[in-house]
């Protein structure tokens, strides 16, 4: 076997006093070989990006390595001076980050930011730097590189920014590229492109890539080898195939089992549909932005464009789409958190879209929502009991009764009755999402809209919440609209799926049919972009 380009041996990184554990990384060892892509996988808080940051000398202020070594070119990086580190960074080891939105300086032109890499290492003349910047932008596949070079970051899309980041990382032909969740913030189709680009460049330049991610789908797409981390320790390493197909460690097994399977869930043929409880007809919503008093020209965005759909009792309808597709706007129009411009929303025969005041208040009891962010969706200053009981009380249920019902609801979502007297911050993300569900159920609705309800959760928690939702739906005979960007999640839970693009529903049908036989080109692109799909199909096939 070849010599590893980077060896991490018994690395221990201490966390500041008062953290939930002593070491972010505990006795971690692994090697990175030239020309391979090593994926470090783990859920949030597993310490998966710590060792990479240590290799760059970019650990947060209060976090420091206390034992072990990181060998690069025969030298221990941890023992290098800051000047030696500076020489290493960018030239020998480069790094790209998760948030392309904030990883670029908003006040500098793209070309200047790329040129800085050469400047930092005293290479090339200013003019050559600029020329190279454009070459690099061309190489990472940015359309109109000349123009992009003159642009400011905010003028580029997320995917383009990540390409700029990659261009900067590639500038000095480093031996190692560290990619810290580089596609997590991107839409699925963009993600597929970026993954392909990284793969492609890695092969062309023969770099070693350390790719940090939480997403096994991404691992399946890109990894040569995999290291799985939990609580600061590596629990399993191996080639991609070994780990994905035959995980040895129970944690790895659990994680992989929790991934929603594309082929799972819904039956092959459409079940007999019950009577519709919600019928949406010709829904429209446009935003006007900009447009001052007198002078500037307003910009019109058609967020919801002539959307019609229906939802049967006990049915789960998925609305999927990338960011900006209008899927959330549809959900918000349905509950009237947003007023549609036109169209009807018939809930059990009553048109929600044109109610107001007391009538709207009353009608909303039947249609409730579960939100995305488990932290922002609960009032931090209210106890859980109040959070759940408030709705019924607002509708005239006496306090004592509302609270006793809250206890029952907590039981329903598998939480302890004692939770009633505690504050939201005392709960984990998954538990909070359960509280949110209990709150939505408190008014005994017939329809629940779940807006990206599991997107912020780790995959293992996500699986539990999805199971809970499925169970509750059956027990309470609820109809569910499930809005998500994650097609795997949609595939697992939905009976039918509506695919949205630019405010329109481009395709709608039974989940199975959509995945197996998409009719629309965009739907096809979406499905093909699902990371790990091919591998999964291959394994299933």
């Amino acid at each position: 076997m070849r010599e590893p380009v980077l060896r991490i041996k018994n690395l221990k990184i201490a966390l500041p006093a008062g953290a939930d554990r002593d070491f972010a990384v505990d006795e971690v060892s692994y090697d990175l070989y030239p020309g391979e892509i090593l994926c470090i996988v783990g859920e949030s808080g597993s310490g998966k990006s710590m060792s990479a940051n240590a290799a760059m000398g970019l650990l947060p202020d209060l976090v420091r390595p206390v034992a072990g070594e990181i060998l690069f070119d025969g030298k221990d990086i941890l023992k290098l001076t800051e000047d030696e580190m500076m020489d290493l960074r960018g030239r020998r080891i480069a790094m790209i980050f998760q948030e392309p939105m904030s990883a670029l300086n908003p006040l500098m032109r793209v070309e200047d930011q790329i040129a800085e890499v050469f400047e930092a290492h005293d290479l090339l003349t200013p003019r050559d730097r600029r020329r190279r910047a454009i070459e690099l932008l061309t190489e990472v596949g940015i359309p109109d590189p000349e123009k992009a070079a003159r642009a400011y970051p905010f003028q580029l899309s997320g995917g383009q920014r990540q390409r700029v980041m990659i261009a900067m990382a590639l500038a000095l032909e480093p031996k190692i590229l560290i990619a810290d969740e580089p596609t997590t913030a991107l839409d699925v189709t963009t993600q597929a492109q970026i993954l392909e680009l990284i793969r492609d460049l890695q092969e062309r330049h023969g770099m070693a890539v350390m790719f940090i991610t939480h997403d096994f789908g991404v691992v399946a797409e890109i990894a040569d080898r995999v290291a799985v981390m939990q609580y600061g320790k590596i629990v399993e390493t191996g080639t991609a195939d070994e780990v994905l197909d035959h995980p040895q460690h129970p944690y790895t097994q659990k994680l992989i089992a929790a991934i929603p399977k594309l082929a799972a869930g819904a039956a092959p043929e459409e079940p007999a549909r019950k009577a519709p409880i919600l019928e949406v007809e010709g829904l429209n919503k446009t935003y006007v932005t900009g447009g001052g008093l007198l002078f500037s020209k307003p910009r019109v965005v058609h967020a919801v464009n002539d959307v019609s759909l229906s939802l049967a009792e006990g049915e789960t309808l998925g609305i999927v789409g990338e960011s900006g597709s209008g899927k959330s706007s549809v959900g918000r129009c349905l509950v009237r958190l947003m007023d549609p411009d036109s169209g009807t929303v018939k809930l059990a025969g009553q048109d929600m879209a044109h109610l107001s005041g007391e009538a709207l208040r009353e009608a909303r009891k039947s249609i409730q929502m579960i939100f995305q962010d488990p932290y922002a969706s609960l009032n931090p200053r209210a106890k859980v009991g109040r959070i759940i009981a408030e709705g019924p009380m607002a509708h005239g249920v006496p306090r004592a009764e509302a609270y006793s019902r809250a206890v029952k609801l907590l039981d329903l979502v598998d939480l302890d009755a004692l939770a009633i007297d505690r504050y939201p911050h005392e709960f984990s993300g998954g538990q909070r999402q359960r509280i949110g569900i209990a709150r939505a159920l408190a008014l005994e609705p017939r329809v629940i809209i779940a807006d990206e309800a599991v997107s912020a959760l780790d995959v293992s928690i996500q699986a539990q919440v999805l199971d809970l939702l499925a169970e509750l739906k059956d027990r309470l005979n609820l109809a569910l609209i499930f809005i998500t960007h994650d097609l795997r999640v949609a595939a697992q839970i939905c009976d039918r799926i509506a695919v949205m693009q630019k405010g329109r529903i481009v395709e709608m049908g039974p989940a199975r049919a959509i995945f197996d036989n998409p009719q629309n080109a965009y739907t096809r692109t979406l499905i093909e972009a699902i990371p790990g799909r091919e591998k999964e199909l291959a394994a299933a096939g």
Partner: protein
Amino acid sequence: MLRFILMRLGKAAVILIAIMTLNFFLIHAAPGDPAAVMAGEAGAADAKFIAQLREQFGLDKPLLTQLGIYLKGVLQFDLGFSYRQQMPVAQLILDRLPATLLLTMTAFVISLVLGTFAGVLASARVGKWSDTAISSLALLFYATPLYWAALMAVLVFSVYFNWLPGFGYETVGANHTGLARLLDIGRHLILPATTLGLFFMAVYMRMTRASMLEVSQLDFVKTARAKGLKRSIIQRRHIFRNAMLPVVTLAGLQAGQLVGGAVLTETVFAWPGIGRLMFEALAQRDYNLLLGVFFVSAAMVLLFNLITDILYRFVDPRIRVA
């Protein structure tokens, strides 16, 4: 850009007229009027004399008519006539404005330059003793009553050591010309400008420090470090430029406020500026003059807000293009 400026000017005009109207009513709500004051100063007066004055000043007309006349004048860039001073208001203000602008702008520059410099320094040594020293000093300046600092400065530097003049704009009666005059004014400027600047120096220092620390936590700083850039370049090019955005906003707000807010400093140092002019005009119910001073100081605020916005558009490309 031009459209932007025109729009802002239009808005400013509306605000100005609203301010003038409010102040007009406020001032007329005060007991006494310029006729009573001037009668009082005349050394002897009777009701007839005062009535004559009122008629002469147009104070016998209904209040709304007076307001109309005044606003009409303002729209024609005529700030009226000060009966007490027997001069056009615009001229009185123009006589005093340079002194105020000199004082406040010097204080502004001193405080902005030293404040941000100290803030950058402190943020670079966060947690070390030099940071503690700078931060404590800033806190101290922040809590010091401006006028008291001025008095103490006079006591120490002017009375006790006799190093610097403790009052006035220039040596009265010295009749310096050219460079000598500039130097003379400069010497007179040191104490007032410094004491006026102390508070704002503290403000800018604290803000710069906080902003630098905040920006240094942002992702693009990590990107810059990952490129292998030197710390000093990162500090200057990446952190400082971004950290200055909120400081610029604040500075713009305060530069405008300074013009009207220098009353105390001008009082302690007998600085012949419009702050004191306002105070005198107020005591004498010199309506037109007082309104004029308000007009000018409010216009200054709006002007500086506009300058800030324009500056901001140059510094921050997001606003420029969007």
